[in-house]
Symmetry: C2
Amino acid sequence: MIASQPAWQPQYARREPRMRGSDIRELLKLLKRPEVISFAGGIPDAQLLPIQRTRAVMDRILADPETSREALQYSASEGHPPLRNWIADHMRRLGVACGEDNILITCGSQQALEFLGRLFITPGDTVLTEGPTYLGALQAFAPNEPVYDTALGEGSNVTPEACRQAAAQAGGRVSLAYLVPDFANPTGRTMSRKARLEHIALARELGVPLIEDAAYTALRYDGANESSLLALDIETCSDIDRSCIIYCGTFSKVISPGMRVGWIVAAAPIVEKLVLIKQASDLNSPLINQMCIHALAETAFDDLAERARSTYRTRRNAMLSALAEHFGGDARWTEPDGGLFVWMTLDDRVDASALLKVALDHHNVAFVPGAGFYPGDGGVNKLRLSFSQSTPEQIGDGIARIAAAYRELMQRKSRLT
Amino acid sequence: MIASQPAWQPQYARREPRMRGSDIRELLKLLKRPEVISFAGGIPDAQLLPIQRTRAVMDRILADPETSREALQYSASEGHPPLRNWIADHMRRLGVACGEDNILITCGSQQALEFLGRLFITPGDTVLTEGPTYLGALQAFAPNEPVYDTALGEGSNVTPEACRQAAAQAGGRVSLAYLVPDFANPTGRTMSRKARLEHIALARELGVPLIEDAAYTALRYDGANESSLLALDIETCSDIDRSCIIYCGTFSKVISPGMRVGWIVAAAPIVEKLVLIKQASDLNSPLINQMCIHALAETAFDDLAERARSTYRTRRNAMLSALAEHFGGDARWTEPDGGLFVWMTLDDRVDASALLKVALDHHNVAFVPGAGFYPGDGGVNKLRLSFSQSTPEQIGDGIARIAAAYRELMQRKSRLT
């Protein structure tokens, strides 16, 4: 009887082939060798995590009879009211007049992106993005079977009509736009005020929501903050509840990624819909994490942000110096004012995946090849370098190793031709 | 210019009208009055939460330089390996031979249900359930626009052919089945071994995955455990990687709902797909929560489960006694062997929503009307009573109040007729 039982072959939903892994996360698994200098993962330095503060806050929450019981019980899908209020204050400091009803707490901003895709994208619809863009956003939107139009970005002069026509040709309509205006992943670029206003106008004319992914906004190392898309839009429409901008923030880059606490700021009617999605998805974010993040944010957000900026600024400077020293005219790269990434463009003939193989196998250094950040083709000769997890010395050493790998690859090429 | 700016009207995805809130969660918001005895929320008693143990474990995690840094950083989408291994051991004790590769950690079992709907349901597909069933499952599946066929349940003699035909008539195919075999929400009923085998055979003949929602399994107050659907299926197919049963477990009922830690046990190829969904949805569950739950499970799962059983058994007994005392022949109700719920059926002429209004307004007692637990029509004269959050004295008092509300409603009716 056992032998005759046929193996069951699962039949998945139509959307299943769209669900693909991140090459980066696969790559990170290979980087456990301590001799490898990794510029791959765009994650905070664990040395900056506020461990002692977290320990004290957790103990306080769990020592109090009332907060401890709340912390370990089910809680509101919307999120912890004091944390929502802190975020509303924080957003007001960023020029966004809003209240608790405009805030939803999510499990990191990744969950925010997944919820927004689910709320707005019908299969076949077009999502407007930059190319390249944050790979995790593409993964978050994928189950909704969108088509991508990479028409956005600094200097884009795409018209609403062109976007509409392309979407109609793809069999749907434009239903969403997505941008990382500050220190973008993967390029490190920051959008000018002019480009921000143009993109808001485009979204308004198209009548679509524009997601502002502000994951890196607190990490500015030089210059003055640009106004957020949401703040700029509210200047025009005068009320967040009339705005088409949906802002996604996170505590992952400044306090702790492991707590998984992010947030959405949007018009209250949109937040109401998102609360239903939150309820259906995981009932609520863990309250103990929200209480802990609230206490840390209230007492230490500015300190922690300043400590992160100070550390990462030095590392960015080290990376830019090392690139100038070791690559000179052989490549171009962005010079980010903040965030975690430098985006590098190599000679047209170089495949960054081939370079990575040489770099990892012969030189113990890692980065992320650029092609994975494009919804379609592109980026073969580009790569992303994160400076967040290495000391200035390691950064100098690692860039020298990439340069050596690059020379090795170019020599091989010249032997072959 | 401000005045002329037209208000932006968001246009949502086609699936949006399916996303609806839980009447229960709306109801719970109304129950803050301390004079109300509530049988509404099916949630653990906060008195049973292991607060001191959690405090000690959290402190140990955050005092250790290595675990603290890991705990607050990004982590594996699959989940914390020691916790996955503990769960694999736990499942083996329940008769399910499985390994770490068969386990995914989720943010509560609600997230498990949402992921499974996303993986298996194409819009228009039919999902087989019981009627009534867990409302949260219906909410989790809703974004995928399924059709429901409530053909399942003890004593159902539905055939695969009938399910296929009904699904085809609804414009799709059967793509998923969902059951709560132990102490179901809302009925409290437990499925017999015979019915379990019949439902497994049905799923196998249809070639669809059958979700086993085991949220309440550890809370048995009388009698011997029934084998899980997954254990029974493995007896036939000999290998979990050939099984069509997908088991969803949770620590919410025994350790803490607030930690939001649940799990899926399934064939490894299905878990691989679910890991991609997890990655796209929220990257990973908070590692600090997983470490904490692991330490508590390892040292105290059996103790905590026994303490919960002992407390809830007394409360169930109190509720059944009070129902017999106050309702006699006026109603029928289930006598659950475990879980948190009694399901009550009133006179056909009674609308449980009308009864709730009288009960809340005049008698300060609450429960959940039954109609919300049906994917389609039904349950108007039924209601769900949870005994988990009230002392035996409150339970006796609360049931007496519902009986008084019931008499008041019936007297009004007889005056009207």
